[in-house]
Assembly symmetry: C2
Homo-oligomer: 135 residues x 2
DNA sequence: AATCTAAGTCTGAATTTTGAACTCAGATAG
DNA sequence: CTATCTGAGTTCAAAATTCAGACTTAGATT
């Protein structure tokens, strides 16, 4: 987890990834949303690409020149659960219970949540969880 | 989630919280484990206390003077799922699948994992999840 | 030929982080 | 009682990072 901390332990990186999860993928759009300094944004995007979390994909809209899109890789998508858990936490503990957002199924709109489950999918109490070395 | 990013978006804060989850609660123990500069560690611990994530609790061991312990508050405990999800991600994507650690039930040792579930507890695909404003 | 725009690079000033040394208060040793 | 030790900080100057804002570049448009 030390490496995960190294990757995510940065104010802008977390926010950039949130943008990516929202589907924002262009440099200037992110810059506008986040109001991050250009040099810092460039730097963070490059590290995320170097780490294999984002991918720089050239694309071309009709009658326009080639642009760069930053999109989540498979590994980047894998962070979704972490972000959802974080959003859920913010909802419960930071905004004081008056939840402005919730996690839902994007098609049916049914409420979803992140939970700890055992091998059979039965819910488990997070307080019982421990990190163990595997053999 | 912007606030969550503000709180966690920091290299040391993430590592400090990991220590707290492992049960390390004394300043000097953390300093030794993390090799963080004293001033930075002091600063981060204070912000975490100010945010209500850690609590500074005086305690006294027999024949010793009073010490300070930094322990997770209820809100801090709430971050467990986020951390477990992050550990699970690191396991799957950073360490290249050769997982050194896993999440288990601390009493039975049964493997656990973080998952997205619907209202009935049935598993859902994280790719289907979206953040929505609540009415 | 001049202008526009997305996506940068460059620059010097402001802020944050760092390591090392110093402080302070209570416990314990001599 | 005086000296010493230790946990938990402060303080300080040097080094690294971040910032805002100006400049650059390569295609597309006027």
């Amino acid at each position: 987890m030390a490496l995960a901390a190294e990757i995510l332990g940065d104010r802008w990186t977390l926010l950039i990834l949130r943008e990516a999860f929202y589907g924002v993928c262009r440099y200037d759009d992110m810059r506008e949303d986040l109001k991050a300094p250009r040099s810092t944004l460039t730097d963070r995007l490059n590290s995320l690409v170097a780490r294999g979390i984002l991918e720089k994909r050239p694309y071309q809209e009709a009658g326009d020149r080639v642009r760069q899109a930053y999109v989540l890789t498979q590994a980047g998508q894998g962070l979704a659960l972490t972000f959802l858990a974080l959003a859920q936490w913010g909802e419960a503990h930071v905004t004081g219970g008056a939840a402005p957002v919730g996690v839902v199924d994007r098609e049916t709109g049914a409420p979803l949540h992140v939970a700890l489950v055992d091998a059979e999918g039965a819910p488990a109490d997070p307080a019982r969880a421990a990190l163990r070395l595997r053999r």
